[in-house]
Amino acid sequence: MQYLVSVIDDKSNPGSTDRQPAISAFNERLIAEGYWVFAGGLADTNAATVIDNRGEQAVFSDGPFVESKEYLAGVWVWEAPDLDVALKLATEASKICDRKVEVRPFQ
C-alpha cells in the first residue's frame, strides 16, 4: 500500500535547516529497503499559485490555498505493507528532518 508522508513545518517555530545530509542518507535507506516511491522538498509557500477554473473564467491567486502557521514543507510517497511499517519509518523520518510528519494512505 502507498502512503503519502507530509512533512509539516511551523513558521513560528521552524525545524533546523541542517537536516539535508541526514535526509539524503535516510532516502538511500528507503530506496535500498524498497519503501521509496517518491520524495521532494517544496519551495516556500509564497511561491504557490492557486488556480480555480470551476467557473466561467480561470481565476489565479497568489499564495497557498490556506494561510496558516503550519505548512507543507515536503512530501514522501512510500510503499509499505501496512500502517505499522509506515509509522515506524515515519517516527524515524520526523526525528531525521526535525519536523512533524503526517502519514496518510492513498485510496
Partner: protein, 411 residues
C-alpha cells in the same frame, strides 16, 4: 434466569471476543467479524431454547458466525469485488511467534488499542469488539449519544481498513509500548467506573469497574509474564475490594481513612496482594517495576492496615518517591504530598502542594487535598474558597456531596 438464558449469557461473556477475533483473522475485516458474531448470538437465542444448548457452545457459535460471514461475503461479492482487496490486507498465516503469546484475541486487543486511533475510539472499539458490549451500552457507559457512538465505532473501523492497520501481535521490541497503550485504555474504563463523572451519574459505576477487571484478567491470561499487566490487575482489584465502603448511605464518597475496613472484600484483597507479592519477587530479582506495579504496591500497603492508624506511611512515601522518579508529573507529586502530611505534618505537605498550584489549579483533587490540609491546620477561614473551587471542579456527585458537607461544617 432459565438454564438456557444463563448458558447464553455465559457464552457471550466467555466466547464473544474469541468469535470476533477468529473471524477477523479469517476474513480480514472487523466489520464482517462483528456483524457475524452478533448474528450468531441472535441465532443462539432463537435456537437454543428449543434445540438445547450445544455441548461446545464456543465451537457452535464460531461455526455459525463463520457461516453468516460467508453468506454476507457472497452477497457482497455479487455486488463488487472490493472485499477481495480487503482480504489481501490480512495475513491468514500465523505471524512470527513472539513467545507464548499467540492468540487471536490478543491481536484483536492490539488492533482496537492501536496508537493511530484516538483514545475515545480505542475505548469504544475495545468495549465493543473485545468486551462485547452493544453500541447503546457503550454510549451509556461513556455518556455520549447512541448515534454518535455508532459513528465513532464505524469511523474507527474505517480507519483501520483504509490505513491498513495490521492484525497481529506487535514485535517483541514494540510490545512494552503497545501493552502500555492497551493498559491505558483499560485503566481509563476502570477509573470512569471508580470515580464516575456526570451530574446524573452514580458516584461509582460497578458495571464499568467489573468490565475493566474482566478485560484485564483476559490480558493477564494472555500475557502472564507482563509485570505491568499484573500490576494493573492488582491495582484494580485492591480498589474494587473497597467499592461498597466508598459510598455512604447519603451518596457521599467516604474517605479512605473513614471506610469500614471490615467490609472490604477479603477475597479481592488476597488476590491483589498475591499479585503484588509476585511483582515484588520479580523486583527483588532485578526487574524494575512500572507505574501500575508501584501504584498497586501503594494500595497493598493501605489494604494491609486493619486500621488507618496502622498504615505504614513511610512505606507509602518510599513507593511514591519511586513513582516520582518514573513519572515526575504534578499529579503524582500531589499524591505524594498526602503521604508527607501523615509523616511530616500537614504544614510541610501544604507547602509542597502550594508549589503545584500553577500546574494543578484546574484539577479538583488539588483543591480537595489542599482543603483537607487547611482543615487539619485549623485554617478554616482560607478553607471556604478552596472548598468552593474543589466543588466547582469535581465531576463526581459523591465527591461533591462530601465536599459540600465538609464546607458547610466550617460554620
Amino acid at each position: 434466569m432459565s438454564d438456557v438464558e444463563e448458558a447464553i449469557t455465559r457464552a457471550h461473556r466467555e466466547e464473544w471476543a474469541r468469535v470476533v477475533a477468529s473471524l477477523t483473522r479469517r476474513f480480514g475485516d472487523l466489520d464482517i467479524a462483528e456483524e457475524a458474531a452478533a448474528e450468531s448470538f441472535t441465532t443462539a437465542v432463537e435456537r437454543w431454547p428449543a434445540g438445547g444448548v450445544p455441548p461446545n457452545p464456543g465451537a457452535w457459535l464460531t461455526t455459525t458466525a463463520n457461516r453468516k460471514a460467508i453468506d454476507r461475503i457472497r452477497r457482497e461479492n455479487k455486488r463488487d469485488d472490493k472485499h477481495k482487496e480487503a482480504h489481501m490486507v490480512y495475513d491468514n498465516t500465523p505471524p512470527e511467534s513472539v513467545g507464548a503469546i499467540d492468540d487471536d484475541r490478543l491481536r484483536l486487543i492490539f488492533i482496537c488499542c492501536h496508537p493511530a486511533l484516538a483514545m475515545e475510539s480505542r475505548v469504544a472499539l475495545t468495549l465493543r469488539m473485545v468486551g462485547g458490549l452493544t453500541v447503546p451500552e457503550i454510549a451509556r457507559a461513556v455518556l455520549v449519544q447512541e448515534a454518535a457512538m455508532g459513528q465513532r465505532i464505524t469511523r474507527a473501523k474505517a480507519k483501520i481498513k483504509a490505513t491498513r492497520i495490521p492484525y497481529r501481535v506487535p514485535a517483541a521490541e514494540d510490545l512494552p509500548a503497545r501493552v502500555s497503550g492497551v493498559l491505558a485504555v483499560l485503566y481509563l474504563v476502570f477509573n470512569e467506573g471508580y470515580l464516575a463523572t456526570g451530574a446524573d451519574t452514580d458516584p461509582v459505576r460497578h458495571d464499568l469497574t467489573v468490565e475493566a477487571i474482566r478485560l484485564t484478567r483476559l490480558i493477564r491470561a494472555l500475557l502472564p509474564d507482563d509485570g505491568e499487566v499484573a500490576g494493573l490487575l492488582a491495582l484494580m482489584l485492591l480498589a474494587e475490594a473497597r467499592r461498597t465502603t466508598r459510598v455512604g448511605a447519603s451518596g457521599e464518597l467516604v474517605a479512605l481513612a473513614e471506610q469500614d475496613r471490615g467490609a472490604w472484600d477479603a477475597a479481592l484483597i488476597a488476590e491483589g496482594h498475591r499479585l503484588v507479592r509476585e511483582r515484588l519477587a520479580a523486583a527483588a530479582a532485578g526487574v524494575a517495576p512500572g507505574r501500575y506495579q508501584i501504584l498497586a504496591a501503594i494500595n497493598a500497603v493501605h489494604t494491609s492496615a486493619a486500621d488507618v492508624g496502622e498504615t505504614d506511611w513511610s512505606q507509602v512515601l518510599a513507593l511514591y518517591d519511586q513513582l516520582v522518579r518514573l513519572d515526575p508529573s504534578p499529579i503524582i507529586a500531589l499524591n505524594r504530598a498526602v503521604a508527607v502530611a501523615e509523616l511530616d505534618g500537614p504544614d510541610v505537605a501544604l507547602a509542597a502542594i502550594d508549589r503545584l498550584e500553577d500546574a494543578l489549579a484546574g484539577y479538583h483533587a488539588y483543591h480537595a487535598a489542599r482543603v483537607d490540609l487547611l482543615r487539619r491546620l485549623g485554617q478554616s477561614r482560607q478553607s471556604r474558597a478552596a472548598y468552593d473551587r474543589a466543588i466547582e471542579l469535581a465531576g463526581n456527585t459523591g465527591e461533591m456531596a462530601y465536599l459540600t458537607r465538609r464546607r458547610d461544617q466550617l460554620g
